[in-house]
Amino acid sequence: MTGLYVQNLSYAYGAKQALRDVTFGVEPGQFCALLGPNGAGKSTLFSLLTRLFTTSQGRIEVAGYDMSRHPRAALARMGVVFQQPTLDLDLTVQRNLSYFAALHGLSGRDAEARISAALERLNMAERAGERARDLNGGHRRRLEIARCLIHDPAVLLLDEPTVGLDAAARRAITDHVHDLSREDGLTVLWATHLTDEISDRDQVVILHQGEVLKDAPCYEVTQGAPLQDVFLSLTGAPA
């Protein structure tokens, strides 16, 4: 199996339970939206999925690798876009990408070719020599998405990647990542607040107070009603 599977995952900050028995799976090629109000546990879940934290309660499997037993193999198959920007603003686009490639053990011509391909894919090839600081918010995000594809991951994790972007940039990035799942078969987990980023065919996992309330295709969850309304009635909070 090459998707993303989470089984009975729990995590607590001291006495405060942040995740309780979370279970869901995302099949290869599927775009899964992780929806939850603030404090639902999305960030904790992302930290566990990216192994910034570990927990003994529950199991995470990434592209067939168990995160606790084979953390490095699992991380190698994963591309991550964090909520916070993680670019070196004073370095050029090219340098940012080659730094990342090197962290994944890629160098020389192989890295060069992958970097050009990644930039090409996001129509950013002509910006390779620009400093990251000189890019606008939308382009910085695009660069981060290009970066997370350099090592050919099977699973993409994106933590509210469109925060702070204008409508056009948001649409472009959302569409692009949908394409990545549909056309390239990547497994995508996309955490968001914004229900308009989710299409009918997407899988929706609704997280509330550390628990999974729903895990189903979007059309099943909504039954024709607007997702925003369904979400509100389930969680009692705006998305």
Binding site: S43, T50, D90, A102, H104
Partner: protein, 263 residues
């Protein structure tokens, strides 16, 4: 193995580029010890009489005495600076990028440590060149022998910074590090005054200075600059470095480190 070295190279280059870009940091790193050398040492020259103790074979001026201590000071400040930049990286998110690399986490931290040491050592040599132009120089071979001593000292102090950075949750808390780590470490050492001189005023103070690993790093450098080898100083510096590295790895263990830093 190749992947590990690729990452090391990239991390060193990134730190070097960041350092070069922050020109004010470079100037500050150079001016700080030079002010001590030119102003402070000149004032103390008359007040302090130094007798002949190893590695010196003749009477020396205070300026000559203080240079190895100032080399240590550069390593100390830079170790802390690199700790500051780690805390900054964590707030900015680039720490996440580093820690989600598929390489072992201990190796990634060692890479950061080595990168900061490279920067420190380059700064020390820049300072030594300026000091030589000012008229305070050492035997030519001393500059070569000092290299391994500077690396060992730089790794030890960088590891201290790394260990501290795992406990500092916010950038604002960094001022505390200045007051409670850098100043005591620097002043309670043999950087500015020889230990026997310290003993004349207080034996307790002398003992505290002798127990300070920064003293060992400074003495290691002092001896090396004269082509001499100070085995106990090396031993204590390496031991302290190993302890600090251990603490840093423990602090960054995913099962416990960054745990309280929700987000």
């Amino acid at each position: 193995m190749k992947a590990a070295l690729t990452a090391l190279r990239a991390i060193v280059i990134r730190e070097a580029l960041r350092f070069v870009r922050q020109r004010s940091r470079f100037v500050a790193a150079l001016v700080r010890p030079l002010v001590w050398l030119v102003v402070f040492a000149a004032g103390f020259r008359a007040a302090l009489g130094l007798s002949i103790t190893p590695p010196y074979q003749t009477y020396i001026t205070y300026e000559i005495y203080i240079v190895p201590g100032l080399c240590g000071m550069i390593l100390l400040f830079n170790g802390m600076q690199s700790s500051l930049s780690l805390v900054y990286d964590r707030e900015m998110g680039s720490m996440r990028l580093l820690l989600t690399s598929p390489l072992p986490r201990w190796w990634l931290l060692i890479c950061r440590l080595l990168a900061s040491t490279v920067i420190s050592v380059l700064q020390v040599y820049t300072f030594l060149i300026v000091a030589a132009l000012y008229g305070i120089d050492f035997p030519l071979m001393g500059y070569l022998y000092a290299l391994p001593a500077l690396i060992v000292g730089g790794v030890m102090l960088g590891a201290l910074g790394l260990a501290l950075s795992s406990t500092i949750k916010q950038l604002e808390n960094f001022a505390g590090v200045m007051n409670f780590v850098i100043f005591p470490m620097f002043f309670l050492s043999s950087a500015l005054y020889p230990l026997w001189k310290m003993a004349e005023s207080s034996v307790l103070l002398r003992d505290i200075c002798a127990a300070n690993p920064f003293t060992d790093a400074v003495e290691l450098i002092r001896f090396a600059l004269y082509g001499a080898f100070n085995a106990p100083a090396l031993g204590w510096t390496v031991l302290a470095g190993a302890v600090f590295i251990g603490l840093a790895l423990w602090g960054y263990d995913p099962a416990r480190g960054m745990k309280r830093q929700k987000g």
